[in-house]
């Protein structure tokens, strides 16, 4: 516990330092000579700036700068390409406007956001959450412990939220102590608590009609065609440079892209891998990519006799040439996936053995089992060309080891119903692999007290033990060891055929510069810290 507490303290201190550095005025004003990232100026540059400023001071006061025109950022969302409905226009607007207690860095570590810090009692049953002071909602009211308590109480009481979480069910009590402290008492140790408290902190505005958050932008209007957000001038990390954000859905990527070329869209949330290569050389658009949290996988229904045996599931994994899948299915924009843990995750075992491509070994395993060749039906969501292509590639590769796969394309609603009901042999879908550790518990732990998302009936005692250990881990070391064990158990008894982690590609107008510390992550998360590029190319 001491190790865990000290590790957490060190983590918090490092985070606070990095956040202070990130929201310093100097970082905001750092000149950028054409690169896409913002960096602190070199000492020589600082010296030059000081000299120049002193020269100006000696010459007399500089004339006041004329007010600049309001800057609007328009985000285009091709709705038809939504794999995750959470990335629809309204969802995206909510992410911008409503913040959560914590955020995740590039390695998936939990970082303070609306919480300033937190401490855990030695027995792991009491969490003291300290709310960041000086944070205001969009209507000007101050964020207090009472708001946090209310949100957590709502989450605990919500069956949907509980279904997504692990620790909410272990919360015994949430109490506000003073204006800024919240005490959460658990019935058992749960290291995922902050992951499960990943709730947007909102309140009803004083007008009693609208819901307000604490984000860098507030929603001012919403219609079918677009959602408009206004900059929060009282944002605790500093007023955003962009005055207005418009989120606009499009039913086709082409339309969104055409609008971008016309200058009416500044940011495309997702660009398919097919077109990304043609966009990367555009002089007015910056194409950036990061490894998605989702891995494409063929989820095998372990409840079905075909997949009850781990050897069969291992054989199917051995029969897949993931490199070819990435190249042909994702046009090279992705990395092979060998397990359920997001590769950049801080606790991921980077030394874990990867599942090799060994069709001979796969055939041997399959032939060793009684019964004839395996045949099964794989459900595929309709109208997703990437999934269709991957499905065909998987089908072909499995046919090489005499596994017959019938592909069945279903509309999204029917697909979801069948998945939730467990009415399938296999499904091809993108599965969340991070950054929240609760994800692993959600998808891979055997169902216990409350519903989980383990629709494929996967049961592995070692996996359960590992995940339970991670859940109760008192410190980082124990936690990462538990995750390592989890990965090893999954490697030996894979619940699915993990195919590839996809890359999400975004296109941003070069009018804007995204802070460098956000490289490798979704740029939306730091929208409040985007910078404007001056006509000469430097960020301001």
């Amino acid at each position: 516990m001491d190790d865990f507490r000290s590790a957490r303290k060190q983590q918090i201190a490092e985070t606070r330092t990095s956040l202070d550095r990130a929201d310093s005025r100097l970082a905001r004003a750092a000149p950028d000579c054409g690169s896409t990232s913002v960096r602190l100026p070199s000492p020589a540059l600082c010296l030059g700036v000081v000299w120049a400023l002193s020269a100006v001071a000696c010459a007399g006061a500089a004339p006041p700068q004329p007010p600049r025109d309001p800057v609007t950022l328009t985000i285009g969302i091709p709705q038809s390409r939504q794999v995750d409905p959470r990335h629809g226009a309204s969802t995206l607007a909510g992410q911008i406007a409503f913040e959560r207690l914590t955020a995740n860095d590039a390695e998936g570590r939990t970082q303070p956001l609306l919480l300033e810090r937190w401490t855990v009692a030695e027995d792991g049953l009491t969490w003291r959450l300290v709310v960041r002071p000086g944070v205001r909602f969009h209507d000007g009211t101050e964020l207090t412990a009472a708001d946090v308590k209310r949100t957590l109480d709502d989450a605990v009481a919500s069956p949907d939220d509980r279904a997504l979480s692990v620790c909410l069910g272990y919360i015994a009590d949430v109490a506000a102590q003073g204006d800024l402290e919240v005490l959460v008492r658990l019935t058992r140790r749960c290291s995922y608590l902050l992951d499960d408290l990943d709730q947007p902190i909102t309140r009803m505005a004083t007008d009693g009609k609208t819901r307000v958050g604490t984000g860098p932008y507030s929603i001012v209007s919403s219609s079918r065609d677009e959602i408009t957000l206004q900059a929060n001038r009282n944002y605790y990390l500093g007023a955003p440079m962009i005055d207005r954000v418009v989120v606009r859905p499009y039913d086709a990527l082409r339309k969104a892209w055409a609008e971008m070329m016309r200058g009416r869209v500044d940011f495309l949330w997702e660009v398919g891998p097919d077109t990304a290569e043609f966009l990367k050389d555009q002089s007015e658009v910056e194409v950036r990519s990061f490894l998605s949290y989702y891995a494409y996988a063929v989820m095998l229904n372990s409840a079905r006799p075909t997949f009850r045996e781990p050897a069969v599931r291992r054989a199917l994994n051995l029969a897949i040439d993931r490199a070819t899948l990435v190249q042909q299915g994702l046009k090279g924009r992705g990395v092979p996936a060998y397990g359920p843990v997001w590769p950049p995750y801080w606790a991921h075992d980077r030394g874990a053995p990867a599942m090799p491509y060994d069709p001979r070994a796969a055939s041997a395993l399959l032939q060793a089992r009684p019964g004839g060749p395996i045949a099964f039906t794989c459900l595929v969501p309709a109208n997703f060309s990437i999934l269709e292509r991957l499905a065909l590639l998987v089908q072909r590769q499995l046919s090489d080891v005499d596994v017959r796969v019938r592909l069945e394309s279903l509309p999204s609603d029917a697909f979801n119903r069948r998945v939730v009901a467990g009415d399938f042999d296999a499904v091809l879908l993108p599965i969340l692999g991070g950054p929240l550790a609760t994800t692993y518990h959600r998808f891979w732990h055997s169902p216990t007290d409350f519903p989980r998302w383990n629709f494929w009936g996967y049961r592995n005692g070692l996996v359960d033990v590992a995940l339970d250990t991670a859940l109760a881990a008192p410190g980082e070391r124990q936690f990462s060891e538990a995750i390592r064990q989890f990965e090893a158990a999954v490697h030996d008894d894979p619940p699915a055929v993990f195919l590839a982690w996809s890359q999400t590609v975004q296109a941003v107008s070069r009018r804007f510069a995204i802070p460098a510390e956000n490289d490798g992550r979704d740029a939306i998360h730091v929208l409040g810290r985007w910078l404007l590029r001056s006509p000469g190319g430097g960020a301001r």
Partner: protein, 582 residues
């Protein structure tokens, strides 16, 4: 500018400058045209290669479709097998994103899609290439260029059936992306109707997504007019104000167009640089040539001009003029020769002057001796005689007259000498030449009669007024008459005449003597020049001086054996208001 300099400049221009300029102009023109042609040809080659690659790419894939259709048509496969084949094909040939078999009624039979087929049979109006029906290219929702292609089945049970594919032509974009001409050049692919299918400039690709049509583009329009295989070259001005070199070719069979564009500032940069270098080199050569010409010309012309000045100075009598030409060439030798010649002339002139002085002194001495010896002899004789006859009053009177006469003669000789050395002052007044001539004739008649001659007067009617000194002109006339008397044998005639014509008045003294040789006519008015046995020969010289001082002229004409005529001419003046007579 001197003629020599002009000629030298003309020679330099003709021999060097003009040929160099001509060569330069021809070279610049050839270079410009040659390099531009090579740039155009280079870009045309690129366009042709791109066109050929596009054609091959399209034809290859259409042939694949045809082959697949033939396989499906002829092999009697089950639906499942066809399904497998179609799915394998879309995996193996990623250009085909979907393959669907349609029956004769247009219903889909089997598809590579997991769900329902997304394609339809292209309409009858679609183009047919390599036996495959192909729809116009369009940009799909994934922003990729796509076309529907359909191969017809021929077997009886498939009559009218089709194998339709969704053909993604993204390789077309990759192909144009790889085309870089210089740093700013790119290629475009345009459809038969002007639709932009591919744009090699990443910033221009958005125009494809927006469905840009280049039908109005001059290069596209020209290509559509031309036959296949005829390239088009143009230099249009683009919307951003940049002029580009655009070359275009039509792709055979597809009827697409490939256009390669490159900003002229880059396309012709090498040519322009070479042109500038050539012009600079030629200009430098020209400058060097002109400078060399100036230097050499100067080294040639200056000595010649010096020689000219020296010669003119010598001709003007300035024998001290010398030229300074420092040259080891013929010009230098010519200068040296000139200087030597001038030195020699000075010496010769000095010798001539010495000789003339000697001659003159001799004549003067001889004349003096001659003119003075007789009077001195007479005086001497009479002085001896008066010693003896000093008591004879008659002789004393004769002695006095003789002495007076001889001293008057001596005095006249001295006066003549003085008049030559220092001209006597002349006072000019209006005088009547006729009166003067009459008076002199009257005074000299006795002298003429004594010599056995007749003195006639032939005067023009009326007074003839001139400006002159009466005494000086009277002396001139008397001198002329005396000379005539001395030159005419007895029984001859001496005539004094006058005439006035226009603004001139002339006095004439003619005789019928022996005449004067032509050689002597030229020198007879010079000092100490006489043909007489006695006298200094100053009479005519003094007469000429007087006439010159009076503003007139005196000339002589003579015919040997027939006589001589002296003419004194003055400018005539109107009769004065007050008649000055003497």
């Amino acid at each position: 500018m001197s003629t020599l300099r002009v000629r030298f400049a003309a020679m330099l221009a003709t021999a060097a400058v003009v040929p160099l300029l001509t060569y330069g102009a021809v070279s610049v023109y050839s270079l410009r045209e040659g390099t531009r042609r090579s740039v155009v040809d280079g870009n045309l080659n690129v366009a042709r290669q791109v066109g050929e690659q596009v054609r091959r790419y399209i034809s290859t894939n259409l042939q694949i479709l045809q082959a697949l259709a033939a396989d499906l048509d002829n092999t009697g496969l089950s639906i499942d097998q066809q399904d497998r084949i179609l799915k394998n094909y879309v995996l193996r040939f990623p250009e085909f994103r979907e393959l669907t078999v349609f029956d004769g009624s247009g219903r889909p039979v089997v598809t590579s899609r997991l769900g329902e087929a997304g394609v339809k049979v292209p309409p009858d109006s679609s183009a047919t290439l390599y036996g495959v029906r192909m729809s116009p290219v369009y940009v799909d929702d994934d922003l990729l260029p796509t076309a529907l292609v359909a191969a017809r089945f021929g077997r009886a049970d498939r009559q009218g059936g089709w194998l339709v594919g969704e053909f993604s032509i993204e390789e077309l974009w990759r192909l144009t992306d790889r085309i870089h001409i210089g740093s700013f050049g790119y290629a475009m692919v345009v459809g038969p109707g002007g639709e932009l299918l591919a744009h090699g400039n990443p910033d221009g690709r958005s125009r494809v997504a927006r469905g840009a049509n280049l039908g109005a583009d001059p290069v596209v329009a020209a290509l559509r007019r031309e036959r296949v295989g005829t390239p088009v070259v143009d230099e249009p001005l683009r919307e951003d104000g940049e002029r580009v070199l655009a070359v275009g070719v039509r792709v055979p069979e597809l009827d697409w167009m490939v256009i390669v564009e490159q900003p002229t500032r880059e396309a012709y940069s090498v040519a322009r640089r070479q042109e500038r270098e050539l012009i600079a080199a030629i200009s430098l050569a020209l400058l060097v040539m002109v400078l060399a010409g100036l230097v050499w010309g100067r080294s040639l012309i200056l000595p010649i001009r010096a020689l000219i000045r020296g010669t003119e100075a010598i001709a003007d009598g300035r024998l001290d003029e010398r030229v300074h030409i420092e040259s080891k060439t013929e010009i230098g030798r010519l200068g040296d020769a000139f200087n030597r010649m001038a030195d020699r002339l000075v010496d010769l002139q000095e010798n001539v002057r010495k000789q003339e002085r000697h001659a003159m002194f001799g004549r003067v001495a001889a004349g003096l001796v001659h003119d003075l010896s007789h009077p001195f002899k007479n005086i001497q004789n009479n002085c001896r005689l008066v010693v003896k006859m000093h008591n004879d009053p008659e002789y004393l009177d004769l002695f006095r007259r003789t002495i007076d006469r001889e001293f008057a003669l001596i005095k006249r000789v001295f006066e003549d000498l003085r008049n030559i050395a220092r001209p006597m002052p002349i006072e000019r007044f209006p005088l009547d030449l006729n009166k003067l001539a009459g008076d002199v004739a009257e005074s000299m008649r006795a002298n003429a009669e004594t010599a056995g001659l007749s003195l006639a007067v032939d005067l023009a009617p009326g007074p003839i007024f001139v400006e002159g000194d009466v005494f000086a002109l009277s002396r001139v006339l008397r001198n002329l008459v005396l000379n005539a008397i001395e030159a005419t044998p007895p029984h001859g005639v001496i005539t004094i005449g006058s005439e006035a014509t226009g603004g001139s008045a002339r006095l004439r003294v003619s005789d019928t003597g022996c005449g004067i040789a032509p050689a002597q006519l030229d020198t007879m008015f010079e000092d100490f020049n006489t043909t007489k046995r006695q006298g200094l020969g100053l009479g005519l010289a003094i007469s000429k001086k007087i006439v010159d001082q009076s503003g007139g002229t005196i000339t002589a004409t003579s015919e040997a054996g027939h006589g001589t005529t002296f003419v004194v001419e003055f400018g005539r003046i109107p009769q004065p208001a007050v008649n000055i007579s003497f």
